[in-house]
Symmetry: C2
């Protein structure tokens, strides 16, 4: 086996270059200068995590933020009786933990790996310096935050006013737009029933019952954790997204 093929085979262990990654993922970092990107490249730490690993935990002080290169992470808050409420997911190109860095407070969420991840860890000071010195980066970060805020507010309205049934349909559709379907219309992300319940904000049993109801109505098919979307319009109708 030649050296080249070894490199090719294990190319995921090679540290990705921020400038390349920024363009590919169309991430926030595309607003950085060449010098700034090189700066991150030099300062960052490339790390690998497996399903179930915790990147940081609610209450932890963190001294940097994460940019996801590969894999999927769930970000959740822990409520009463330790029940998780999943706030968001992060995938390639997304950054997490920046909120705690900006507000200089302990993390108010926990980040746990759902699909094996490679992430870049970037020290707080780098973020601070970019925010101070690069107005257009700063502006984009602000836009990103505003966008998340708007999503959070929408979700408050949903969760306060919609039924569990409607919310579950809506969550499935969100997963479709965020993670996409494969060639056979299977959702690319797979979650446990409990995780689904922790997004929707309901009991695991309720998710199970509603999923099999959707299945009975020929809206989806269930193959273990893989969910096939067979009637997206039907889900949209249930979810009430358009009033």
């Amino acid at each position: 086996m030649s050296l080249i093929s070894v490199i090719m085979k294990h190319n995921d262990i090679h540290i990705p270059f921020c400038d390349k990654c920024a363009i590919e993922t169309d991430s926030l970092f595309r607003h950085l200068t060449k010098e700034e990107l090189e700066n991150i490249n030099f300062e960052k730490d490339y790390r690998h995590y497996k399903r179930g690993d915790v990147l940081y935990q609610e209450g932890n002080r963190i001294n940097g933020f994460y940019c996801i290169n590969r894999g999927i992470i769930k970000v959740f808050k822990t409520g009463l009786d330790g029940k998780e409420q999943i706030i968001r997911f992060a995938k390639r190109g997304d950054i997490i933990a920046y909120r705690s860095v900006i507000s200089n407070e302990p993390a108010c969420t926990t980040a746990e790996v759902i699909e094996d991840c490679s992430v870049c860890f970037i020290p707080s000071e780098i973020l601070f310096s970019f925010v101070k010195s690069n107005p257009s980066f700063s502006f984009e970060l602000m836009r990103l935050t505003c966008h998340e805020l708007e999503e959070a507010n929408s979700y408050i309205t949903d969760i306060a006013q919609k039924t569990v049934r409607e919310r579950l349909a809506e969550v499935l559709l969100h997963l479709v737009t965020d993670f996409g379907l494969d060639e056979n219309n299977y959702l690319k992300i797979s979650l446990t029933r409990e995780e689904l319940a922790n997004i929707v904000g309901t009991a695991t049993e309720s998710v199970i019952r509603l999923l099999s109801e959707f299945k009975g109505d020929k809206l989806i098919e269930l193959h273990g954790r893989k969910i096939r979307i067979t009637n997206q319009k039907g889900l949209e109708k249930i979810s009430n997204v358009f009033g």
Copy 2:
């Protein structure tokens, strides 16, 4: 009646100076330079609204944001069947609508006056120019947004996991911290039962029933819309704020 006394009597109609106001309210604007404050002062528009007036409506394009000088505003989203979900309140020193300005999207909330207001309207361009040219202002605005985001996430967790009873107690406590109590322990803000329901995310009747239950348990007293907090510890216990 002397000229002085006329001025004194009607001093609320005189346009407040941003530099004075920024210091008094300890608002975001304290991070602006003297020149920038003078710039706002020159460009801004001072407006008055009465209870029930709408500053801007969901879906509107807005070309500026508001800084509240006096009064109280509720900011809400309209859900299914037109039911309001109150997202936040704004009072003296708070700014609203900045999110839509930053993301350059139509407003995703409606702002309506709860207590007669005086507000300064500041054109979008001013905000943009400050964000671009004043990193410390920009940073503080980002912190503010992050703070709101964190609050929204907490509320999602609450609303998904707590009972209406717990949430109502929690909302009352939030109103205490945000608006305070007068010398007789009456909440300084008064809301209709429906408005309370639209914060908690429940039906008006449920709020009424629970309020009179709290009253029966000697936690509060009800005198029309005025609510007297007689046992704050009791409310804290019910609200489950400390696990």
